[in-house]
Structures are given as structure tokens and as C-alpha cells.
């Protein structure tokens, strides 16, 4: 820069000092390597642009002199001297002319194997080519040969048959039944089996999750969609788009968007609706990060993190995409539902009138007037404010109801308003209306029971895109009460997404575009995990920089390439796996490789896998012949011990009628604060956040459950009945066929015979249900 006069020379010198201070004292945290608070101080433009708190030219001196949020800059080393601060101040006031080396402001895309484009590697050559059944085997065998380890022989036929049945349908084969891969893939139970891990990702629940944990009576519509989509083998790209943006398609698919409606809700008294909204949006961002990108976003919610590709700004740009959508429930009666509902409606309304009495009708006009005035701000009464806030927390679409004239409201809206009156029983209203006795005391449970007896036609939980969405801000330290700079809805550039305003549809399409290499890798890794108990990258939720490298990087990429080129065909990948020699190996332990490969990452054998919680239930019901094989429909409630209900804050559990009680585990009602104990004991996750892999524990509570839970006791009795229907000589072999799909050994037969000399078949059957083999996929 030219300095034509003395004064300006002084200015330039101050400028050099200022840049020097910024370089040495600020840039370590606000420079090219790290942008703490989203802030870079290494060029004129970056100062102007500022960080998450907005333009930084005014904030710099404030941060140095007084500190921001109690933190004075620089946080380490000696404080700046007064003359240094003055130089900075002067330079900033002069418009901060930059004299030193200036860097361009651009977030460089992080380099990491998972972010590289998917390229199909060449198939490795192997010596034992005759062992190879599908290309997968070449990758596994090449590595084993390199390590000089022999693969295991193929498991015997019954073992492979049971393995295929359990892995593809989650149900054991019937005695004498073979295993035909194509047939199993087309079974209606295939969708049930493969919905299980996906429901963990969606963190599906039939209740709100927090405190009151109210019911979500329509959530199952999403589960039905999911099972159906898997059974149709809907290509994974369309599967993705439907779940993230089905409502925005030209041919809308509303049911699918239930995926994003699984986030928790709180209806606790006094809670700030903005907090609930923030939690939901953050959960949606992190779910998409985990499920499709295999990246953790948890850190980025509060700050930039050097290991995460996502910056905090990018986190809130994604958040902004979801912030444009409002939750709505669409009336979507199933076949026959509406007619049945209309036919019973007069009866329902008569019983409702009898129950509620005339007083609700008389109180309602004043009640809604006060709510409306509080909403509009013309009434500033603290007690009414509390009532109104509770109303907003409890009633979906609360303000919309108030804004709709009473005669134009739907029956559902009117009912919601009346129900809230009965629930809240506001003293302030009674006082104003001169009501002496609380007319609604004890009414709510009766009203709930009545509503349950006359179910409304089903609805689909989905979204509606709002044109005039609230602006999204970066939230400083992730605190919803500390908004920083406003951000537009954008895709994450740090993992290579294109720029330009985005919505859920563009997000979904980018996730399954060729430009994004993560989705294919993450998805095939999770599919692999289901068949071997562990992904090629063990941390299936995180393929980022902190993840272990894949055990077989080329295989992961080969599968990802195959997945893309097959048109995102999930079943194609599954078939490649189950047809492979690798998959079909015996799971017998290999003492020879135990030291070198304790976790079986090289796959010199199959792994023995404890069945997931739902399948433990299914196994017992199927072997005993009790299983109700109906597919789809609302959740069912098997008997729940009384003592557990009393422990829940608000326990309500109406046991389903007899045939429903024997449905598969996937249909058991997910009450998030009161998980069905058998599922919980066998490590089912709590469905609060997306879970990509379950822990596997062995416990005495599991033993007590299989021994004494009435469900398993009932199964044992039924299994005994099934066995005893056979001629005595066939009973033991038949029992082994039902439970383990194999013949008993001579030793096993002898031991059972011995037991049966005094013990009953019910006790013997119960013992078989309790064997480790019963709940293990060999």
C-alpha cells in the first residue's frame, strides 16, 4: 500500500502492528486451522464477515477489553497491552486496511478416505479360486491368504438354512423346511426382519417420549409403510427421498415422512415450546448425519470441532432446512374406517354429552376468548399466560384453532379445545365464570377411555412446508436462547454438497446423488453389520476421521459401487452376501486365530450372533406354534406386569386381545418411558436417538425372563403340546428340529431322556427355550 503522507504512514504502521497482533495472538484459534466461533481473522473480508455472533469488527475490541460471555480474549498467554489494544482499535476504526499476507476465505473440503468418490476396485486375485462363490469372497480370501489364515469350511446344511431364515425373515424354519434365498427375500416377513434395524435408526416410538409420554396413535402408519417398502424392495434412493421429503413429491408419499416425525416431544408444564422445537430440529439434523452420512454432528451443534467435517454454521444451515417444515397430521382413514366411525358417531356423541354435561359448552366461549386474547397480546394476565402456554404445548396446531372461527372448525379441532378445557380445569376460568364446584374433576381418564373405545379415523403424521418460515440462526454454544448470525437453508459444503438454497427434497436428492459418496458406503456397511455382527467399519454410526479404518477398504468400496450401479438395490447386496462362501462358513471358534484376530475382523469364520430382542420373542412364539403371523397394523400391548405400570409416571396399558398378544416383537407398543421389559432386558435401545448398532449383554435378568416371564412360560407349554403330539420315539428329535433346526446328538438325547424320567415335557420345553443356542444365530 502506498503511503503518501506522514499521517498515513503512522496509520500504516498501526496497521502493521494490528495485523501482527491478529496473526500471533488471534489466528491460532481464528485462522486457517481452526475457526473458533466460526470466526477467521486473517483477511479483511473475513473480519467483515465475522463469525456466528455476526460481524466481528466491533466485537474484537469488546472481546479483548471486557470479554464476551465472561470470556476475555485472548484466553491464553499474557493479556494484550494497552498500546496494542489502541492500535487495533484505531486500525479497525479506519476500516482495517490489510497490509500483510491475506488469505482467501474458503472452507477447504476435508480429505478423508470416506469423503473420496466411490471407485470400484479391481477384484483381487486369490490362490484358492475354487473357494470363491461371489466377488465378496475374493476380498476376504485375499486378506486371509495374505495373513496365511485358512478360511473355515462351510457350515452344515441345517445351520446354513436356519441362518438364512433368521437373517432374512427373523423366523426359524419349520422342521423339514429348506432355505431358498430368493423365496426368503420375497417373504412378507422379510420386510418385518429388515424394518427392525431401520426402526432403531428412525428411533420409532408409539409415544411422545418425555415426561407425560402421551400416545402417538398413528405412528404405526410409518412402520407399515416401512415394512411395505422393504417388501417391495424400493430402491434405496427412492426409499431415502420418500422418508425425508415424501410430502414434497409431485406424487406425495406422506406415510414415509413418519421417519422424521419420530423425534421426541415434551408436553411438560412450563416447558418452552421453542426449546422443544430446537431439540426436534437438532435431532433431525443429527439423525440424517448418522443415518446417511455416517457423521457425528453432535459437536457441531455447539461449536466447531477439528475432527468433524461439519462446521457449526453448516449444522444450522441443515437445521434451517427442517425449520421450514411444520408438523401436521393428515386425515387419512383406512378402508372401512370412515364408514365405521360415522356409523358409531351419534352413539359416541351421545355418550360424550352424557359424560361431559352441559357445562363444557357453556364455559368454552369465555375460555377460548381468553386464550385468544393472550395469544394476541391484548390480555396480559400471568395466570392466563400459563394456561395459554400449556395449551400450546398440549394441542398440536393450537393457534390455528383459535384463529379459525368456531363454525368453521373441524370436529377434531373443537374436540381438541374441549378436551384441553377438561384437562386443564383452570381455576382462573371458574372464578371468572362464577363456577363454584370444579365440573371436570376426574373426568379426563373417562374421556380418554371413551375416545379409545371410539377411535377416530387414522391420520398420517407428516409435514407441511411453510413459505414464511422463521429465520434460523446459529445458536451460540447450542443454546436456543442465544441466537447468533442468521443462516439460510444450505447443504453442507464441507462434504462436497452443491451450493444454493435447499429444502428437504434437495437435501434428500443430494444424499443419494453420485456427488455424495457417503450414503452408499454407510449403507452397505450397515447391511454387512447385520450379517456378520460387525461392520467393515465397526463404528457404523461414524465413518468420520475418528473412526477405525475399514477392515477391508476395497471391499467396502466395491460393495458401495455395486450398490450404486445396481440402482441402489438393497436386496442385490444382501443376496451377494448370503450367497458368499464367507457368509456360509462355519461359526465354530478358531483357536488358531483367536490371538491374532480376537474380534473376527478378518472373517476366517462366521460370527455367532445373539438374536436381537424382538427376535428372541419371535423365536419362542414361532417354535411353540403360538405366533400370529399377521403383517402390519397398529401396535399391540402384551400383558405388562402391574408393578411396572405403577412405576411409570403415567402408566396406561390396555392389554391387547388374545390373538394380538402373539404378534411379532416388532409390533409391541413402544412406550418410550416404559419399554416392554423383555425387549429392554435383551438390549433394545430406548428409541430416543438414532441407534445404528445395539449393545449385546448377557444377564441374569435375561435368564429370569426366559425362565419365568408368562409369555415364555406359555410358549413352553405350547411347545410341549406340539412335541407331545408326536409319537414318543420322535419327540426329542422333533423338539430339536423346532428349536434348533438340527438333529440332537446322542449325548443330548441321553441327557433329555434322563430329565424326562421325572420331569415333564413342559419343563423340558422351557429348558430348550433357555438354551443359548435357541437365541443365537449360529
Amino acid at each position: 500500500m502506498r503511503c503518501p503522507g506522514l499521517w498515513l504512514i503512522a496509520g500504516c504502521l498501526a496497521g502493521q502492528d494490528a495485523v501482527q497482533i491478529l496473526t500471533s495472538r488471534c489466528q491460532p484459534c481464528h485462522g486457517p486451522a481452526l475457526q473458533s466461533g466460526g470466526l477467521r481473522l486473517d483477511s479483511r473480508e473475513s473480519i467483515q464477515k465475522g463469525g456466528y455472533r455476526g460481524p466481528s469488527d466491533r466485537l474484537i475490541v469488546k472481546a479483548i477489553r471486557e470479554g464476551v460471555d465472561g470470556k476475555r480474549m485472548p484466553p491464553t498467554g499474557p493479556a494484550l497491552r494497552e498500546n496494542e489494544i489502541v492500535a487495533l482499535e484505531r486500525w479497525l476504526a479506519d476500516g482495517y486496511p490489510w497490509t500483510g499476507p491475506s488469505r482467501t476465505v474458503s472452507a477447504g473440503r476435508s480429505r478423508h478416505w470416506a469423503f473420496e468418490p466411490v471407485r470400484r476396485p479391481a477384484l483381487p486375485s486369490v490362490r484358492r479360486a475354487n473357494w470363491v462363490r461371489t466377488p465378496i469372497d475374493r476380498f476376504i480370501l485375499a486378506r486371509l491368504e495374505h495373513e496365511r489364515i485358512e478360511p473355515s469350511p462351510e457350515a452344515d446344511r441345517p445351520t446354513v438354512e436356519r441362518r438364512l431364515h433368521l437373517d432374512l425373515t427373523g423366523l426359524p424354519p419349520e422342521p423339514g423346511q429348506g432355505a431358498h434365498v430368493e423365496e426368503l427375500l420375497r417373504s412378507p416377513h422379510y420386510g418385518e426382519r429388515w424394518a427392525l434395524p431401520w426402526l432403531d435408526l428412525a428411533h420409532y416410538g408409539d409415544s411422545d417420549g418425555h415426561e407425560q409420554d402421551g400416545p402417538r396413535p398413528h405412528a404405526w402408519r410409518y412402520r407399515d409403510w416401512l415394512i411395505g417398502a422393504l417388501n417391495r424392495n424400493l430402491p434405496f434412493d427412492r426409499f431415502t427421498v420418500a422418508q425425508l421429503a415424501g410430502d414434497l413429491l409431485s406424487q406425495p408419499d406422506y406415510e414415509a415422512t413418519g421417519f422424521l416425525r419420530s423425534t421426541l416431544t415434551s408436553r411438560e408444564g412450563g416447558i418452552d415450546p421453542a426449546l422443544v422445537r430446537d431439540e426436534q430440529l437438532a435431532d433431525r439434523v443429527s439423525t440424517v448425519g448418522t443415518v446417511w452420512l455416517g457423521l457425528t454432528t453432535g459437536c457441531a451443534r455447539c461449536h466447531d470441532h477439528k475432527f468433524d467435517p461439519f462446521t457449526q454454521r453448516e449444522f444450522y444451515q441443515l437445521y434451517a432446512i427442517f425449520n421450514r417444515s411444520r408438523e401436521v397430521n393428515l386425515d387419512a382413514p383406512l378402508e372401512g374406517e370412515l364408514a365405521r366411525y360415522e356409523a358409531r358417531r351419534p352413539e359416541y356423541e351421545r355418550r360424550l354429552r352424557e359424560l361431559v354435561g352441559p357445562q363444557a359448552g357453556e364455559l368454552l366461549p369465555l375460555f377460548e376468548k381468553r386464550l385468544w386474547q393472550t395469544m394476541e397480546g391484548s390480555l396480559q394476565d400471568p395466570v392466563w399466560r400459563i394456561v395459554y402456554e400449556a395449551y400450546r404445548v398440549w394441542i398440536d396446531g393450537a393457534d390455528e384453532i383459535l384463529r379459525t372461527p368456531p363454525d368453521q372448525r373441524s370436529a377434531k379441532q373443537n374436540h381438541a379445545l374441549m378436551r384441553f378445557l377438561i384437562k386443564s380445569r383452570p381455576q382462573v376460568l371458574y372464578d371468572e365464570a362464577g363456577v363454584k364446584e370444579d365440573p371436570f374433576k376426574g373426568l379426563l381418564p373417562k374421556l380418554e377411555a371413551l375416545d379409545e373405545a371410539y377411535p377416530r379415523p387414522s391420520e398420517i403424521p407428516t409435514f407441511s412446508e411453510s413459505a414464511t418460515a422463521a429465520a434460523t440462526h446459529v445458536l451460540i454454544r447450542g443454546d436456543y436462547k442465544s441466537p447468533g448470525v442468521a443462516v439460510p437453508p444450505l447443504l453442507p459444503a464441507s462434504v462436497g454438497a452443491p451450493s444454493g438454497e435447499a429444502n428437504r427434497l434437495t437435501l434428500a436428492r443430494w444424499l443419494v446423488s453420485r456427488e455424495n459418496p457417503l450414503t452408499a458406503r454407510v449403507t452397505v456397511n450397515r447391511i454387512w453389520q447385520e450379517f456378520f455382527g460387525r461392520g467393515l467399519v465397526p463404528s457404523s454410526e461414524d465413518l468420520g476421521k475418528r473412526a477405525e479404518r475399514p477392515s477391508h477398504p476395497e471391499l467396502l468400496d466395491w460393495l458401495a459401487a455395486e450398490f450404486l450401479e445396481s440402482g441402489w438395490n438393497v436386496r442385490h447386496i444382501q443376496k451377494l452376501i448370503v450367497d458368499s462362501a464367507t457368509y456360509r462358513q462355519s461359526s465354530r471358534f478358531r483357536p488358531d486365530v483367536r490371538e491374532r484376530d480376537p474380534d473376527n475382523r478378518l472373517l476366517a469364520r462366521q460370527s455367532r450372533l445373539r438374536l436381537r430382542a424382538e427376535l428372541v420373542r419371535d423365536m419362542a412364539l414361532a417354535a411353540s406354534g403360538l405366533l400370529n403371523r399377521a403383517v402390519g397394523g397398529p401396535a399391540v400391548k402384551p400383558p405388562m406386569p402391574e408393578s411396572l405400570l405403577s412405576l411409570a409416571f403415567r402408566g396406561r396399558w390396555t392389554v391387547s386381545p388374545a390373538p394380538e398378544r402373539h404378534r411379532r416383537g416388532i409390533y409391541v407398543h413402544v412406550q418410550r418411558t416404559l419399554m416392554y421389559p423383555q425387549l429392554q432386558v435383551f438390549d433394545a435401545p430406548d428409541r430416543l436417538v438414532a441407534c445404528t448398532r445395539r449393545s449385546v449383554s448377557t444377564s441374569s435378568l435375561q435368564a429370569l425372563t426366559l425362565l419365568n416371564d408368562p409369555v415364555f412360560h406359555e410358549a413352553a407349554r405350547a411347545l410341549a403340546g406340539r412335541i407331545e403330539s408326536q409319537p414318543p420315539a420322535d419327540r426329542i428329535p422333533y423338539a430339536f428340529q423346532l428349536c434348533f433346526h438340527r438333529a440332537p446328538s446322542a449325548g443330548e438325547t441321553a441327557r433329555l431322556h434322563e430329565f424326562l424320567r421325572t420331569g415333564s415335557w413342559t419343563e423340558a420345553a422351557s429348558s430348550l427355550l433357555n438354551l443359548e443356542e435357541f437365541i443365537v444365530r449360529e
Binding site: H210, E211, L264, E268, G269, G270, E279, T290, T296, G298, C299, V383, D542, R546, A547, S587, R590, D599, R608, P641, E642, S643, L644, L647, A648, F649, G651, T673, L674, M675, F682, D683, D686, L688, V689, S695, V696, S697, T698, S699, S700, L701, A703, L704, L707, N708, P710, H713, S745, G747, E748, R751, L752, F755, T758, G759, E763, N770, L771, E772
Partner: protein, 446 residues
């Protein structure tokens, strides 16, 4: 597999049973077990442990404007009226710790415990507040204090769960959230003992199956498991066999544990009547048998209305048993190795919440996370102290602020665990109980 993963995979039983050898203390443990007396709903520190005579001067008047900045309550507005406590406080024991006349029995133990008057939480509602206190985060899904303790130390109980939960009153609002294993393996979860039916779920055999039948059955299961194990070669089958053996031992041990008839009459009398009293006695019996963590929940102290009546009742139900527990542990030489913690997720406001104007007896107090009291006693604690000070209104802490994470770090420290080293990797990062906080409260330590 890391050592931790190995431990978790081989951990046995509900809450890591005996075989989960876990020699993990990072430092010399001062306490072997914890009894956490969880006062659900938030007891009023102003009526129990933190006397504020200055409030009398302002009683019935709105809070001065200058005091209102930054206050946010769950229900009332910061401009609500001040409500002075009607309780009578006096110094107790040699230490002179002030306690109110609602805690006459605890007063006799004043020299065995230390009070923290400067607890703060950042959660104004019950569920997040309870989760923060018990699990270190207001969001659900994190392991509870008891689960972290078991994960770190395992259990010494041969035939009982290592982490037991006892309830009196209604269920806590955060339900199972306060004893969950979160993302830790399910073995570390607390086992609730129930008051009706089986104390432990599915503990009793089905009708008609006696203990001898069960033994024969378990022998069959064990033999067949071992025969199959000879084929698979899987060493982990042994864990399942042991899990059954432990279940069998528990079936025998729990009824004996629950049978209080062998306790001397004077001991039972000291605890007094009621469910909470029984639970305190049970907690001592559990700790005696090597149980690592006992969470005793009493609900609810959430008196937005009728506080004087309801708090008085809660004190009648809990004061004598809590004092008896300290006395009993001391008499048996267990107090030195047992850390006892008393407190709720927050305290209550010095401002009145009054929904029925004119009815003075219906007055209550709202949630107050900005300054509340707890007490601790036993293993690792230097007794007879009052830690921290609040302002004249009891609105905020003016000395020795103790965050919830600080308390948790201190509890773990007493057990010989370093809260920064006790971590578990999930969702792509290392998690710990105290998140990014936690400063040891050294003043409290012996």
C-alpha cells in the same frame, strides 16, 4: 476389543454381578457403596436447611426490581411476592449446622454430615432437572450415576444386582430415566425392587415349579449348553451359564433380603413406619451385602401449593428414617465406606406461588434451580461443615457455587473414580457423566 468392551461383554447379571471383576479405581476409594436419597420434585431449602430470616422483612411484598434480572421460573413471574418461611431454625450438634424444626431427627446427626447450600442447576423443569442430577445431562439417553459407578467398579454382591432402586410415594417424573444404563450395556442398569408382586421382575417360578424343579432344570440347561459349547468352541457360552446360576442364587437371596423379621425390633423402631423407612433399612441391608449403588427415591416434594401441609408430611415420612440410616450405618461400621447423598433436582423459590388468592394455607413455592441445598455424609466426606452461601433472599449463590457436575465429580471421586477418565465411546465420541464440566469439591472431602 478394548478391556472395557471385554468387561461389558462378559459382565453378568442385572447390574454387573459378582463375576464382573472390575478393578478400575483410578485412585484410592474412600467409599465402597453409595446410597442416594433422591428427594424427587425439589424440597424447599428455605424451609429445611437454608434459613433466611431477612425474608420476613419483605414477606408479602413483590421482589425488589433490582433482584429480578435473569430470573426465570417454571410457573410464577419474577415479580411475585416474597414468602418467608414459618419454620424455626436453630444450630445443631457440635458443628452448629442450622436445620429447621421439620428435621428434628436429622438434627441429631448434624455432626455426621455436611450441608451444601450452594447447589445450582440450569434446569427449571422436573424431567430435565432429574436427568441432569442423575445422568449428567438434561437430555434423555445418558447413563445414570449408578450405571457409571457399576461400569467403573463392578459389583461386590454375589447374589444381588449391583445397582438397586427403591421407591416410595409416586413414581419419579423422569421414570426409568433416573436409573437407566443409557448407551452403556444393559447390565449396568438399575434394578427396581417392586413393592407388589415379585421384588425383581420374574423372580418367582411359575406356579407348580419348586426350587428343586428349578435346580434340575438349570442343571439340564447347563449340561446342554456345555455339550453345545463343545461343538462351537465359544467361550462366551460360559457367561450365559453363569448368568443362570446367578439368577438361581438371586431367587434364593432376595426373599431373605426382603424379610425384615430378623431385624431387631429396636432397629426397626428407629427407622419408624412407612415405605421410605423400609427402603432406608433395605438400603443398609443391600450395602451390607455388597451392593454398589442404591437409589432411594421419594416422591414428591413438588409443592406448588399447600407446601406447609405437604412438606410437613414429607418430613414426617423421611426425616426419622434418613437419620436412622446414618445412625445404623455408623453403628455397624459401614458409614466410613458408604457415601450417603440427600437431595432433589432443584430447590424452591423464596417467592410465593398462589393460585387461590386469599387462601393462605394453600401457598406454595415454584421450582428454584439457582440456589438449593443438599447434604452428604459418610465415606470420603468431611462432616460438620456448611459449604456455600446464598444471598439474603436465597435467590442466588454468593459463595462456593456447586454445579451438578461438580457434585457428580465429587461422588465419583469418593468412589476412587476420576470423572474425566471414566468414559465410554459411542455416537462417534467419548462420553462421560460430567460432560465437559465437573470440578472436585475439595472442601467437602475428608
Amino acid at each position: 476389543m478394548t478391556r472395557r468392551e471385554l468387561l461389558s461383554r462378559y459382565a453378568l447379571g442385572a447390574g454387573a454381578w459378582a463375576l464382573d471383576a472390575a478393578p478400575l479405581p483410578h485412585a484410592k476409594p474412600r467409599a465402597r457403596s453409595v446410597i442416594f436419597l433422591f428427594m424427587e420434585g425439589g424440597p424447599s431449602q428455605l424451609d429445611l436447611l437454608d434459613a433466611k430470616p431477612a425474608l420476613r422483612k419483605y414477606d408479602g411484598q413483590p421482589l425488589p426490581e433490582s433482584m429480578r434480572a435473569g430470573l426465570r421460573f417454571a410457573f410464577i413471574q419474577p415479580g411475585a411476592s416474597v414468602w418467608a418461611s414459618a419454620r424455626h431454625f436453630q444450630p445443631r450438634g457440635q458443628s452448629g449446622i442450622e436445620m429447621s424444626d421439620w428435621m428434628p431427627h436429622l438434627a441429631t446427626q448434624a455432626d455426621r454430615l455436611s450441608v451444601i447450600r450452594s447447589m445450582v442447576s440450569d434446569q427449571v423443569n422436573h424431567v430435565p432437572g432429574q436427568l441432569l442430577l442423575q445422568c449428567g445431562s438434561p437430555l434423555p439417553g445418558r447413563p445414570s450415576l449408578g450405571a457409571w459407578t457399576l461400569y467403573g467398579l463392578g459389583s461386590e454382591a454375589r447374589d444381588l444386582p449391583g445397582f438397586v432402586v427403591l421407591f416410595s410415594g409416586r413414581a419419579p417424573q423422569a421414570s426409568g430415566g433416573i436409573y437407566t444404563s443409557g448407551f452403556l450395556p444393559g447390565t449396568y442398569q438399575g434394578t427396581p425392587f417392586r413393592d407388589s408382586g415379585d421384588a425383581v421382575l420374574h423372580l418367582s417360578n411359575p406356579t407348580g415349579v419348586g426350587r428343586a424343579d428349578q435346580r434340575r432344570k438349570l442343571d439340564l440347561i447347563g449340561d446342554l449348553n456345555r455339550q453345545h459349547q463343545a461343538d462351537t468352541g465359544d467361550p462366551e457360552t460360559e457367561s450365559r451359564i453363569q448368568a443362570y446360576e446367578l439368577a438361581f442364587r438371586m431367587q434364593a437371596a432376595v426373599p431373605g433380603l426382603l424379610d425384615l423379621s430378623a431385624e431387631p425390633a429396636e432397629v426397626k423402631a428407629r427407622y419408624g413406619p412407612g415405605r421410605f423407612a423400609q427402603n432406608c433399612l433395605m438400603a443398609r441391608r443391600l450395602v451390607e451385602r455388597g451392593v454398589r449403588f442404591v437409589l432411594v427415591s421419594h416422591a414428591s416434594w413438588d409443592d406448588h401449593a399447600d407446601l406447609n401441609k405437604n412438606h410437613a408430611l414429607n418430613c414426617r415420612l423421611t426425616d426419622r428414617p434418613a437419620a436412622a440410616l446414618l445412625e445404623d450405618l455408623h453403628a455397624r461400621g459401614l458409614l466410613d465406606s458408604t457415601l450417603v447423598v440427600w437431595g432433589g433436582e432443584f430447590g424452591r423459590t423464596p417467592l410465593v406461588q398462589q393460585e387461590k388468592p386469599g387462601r393462605d394455607e394453600a401457598k406454595g413455592r415454584d421450582h428454584h434451580p439457582y440456589a438449593f441445598s443438599m447434604w452428604l455424609a459418610g465415606g470420603g466426606i468431611r462432616p460438620g461443615q456448611v459449604i456455600g452461601r446464598t444471598d439474603d433472599f436465597g435467590l442466588s449463590v454468593v459463595e462456593d457455587k456447586v454445579e451438578v457436575h461438580d457434585l457428580q465429580a465429587t461422588i465419583l471421586h469418593c468412589l476412587g473414580l476420576d470423572h474425566e477418565k471414566l468414559t465410554f465411546r459411542t455416537q462417534g465420541r467419548d462420553f462421560r457423566l460430567t460432560d465437559v464440566g465437573g470440578v472436585l469439591l475439595r472442601k467437602l472431602l475428608a
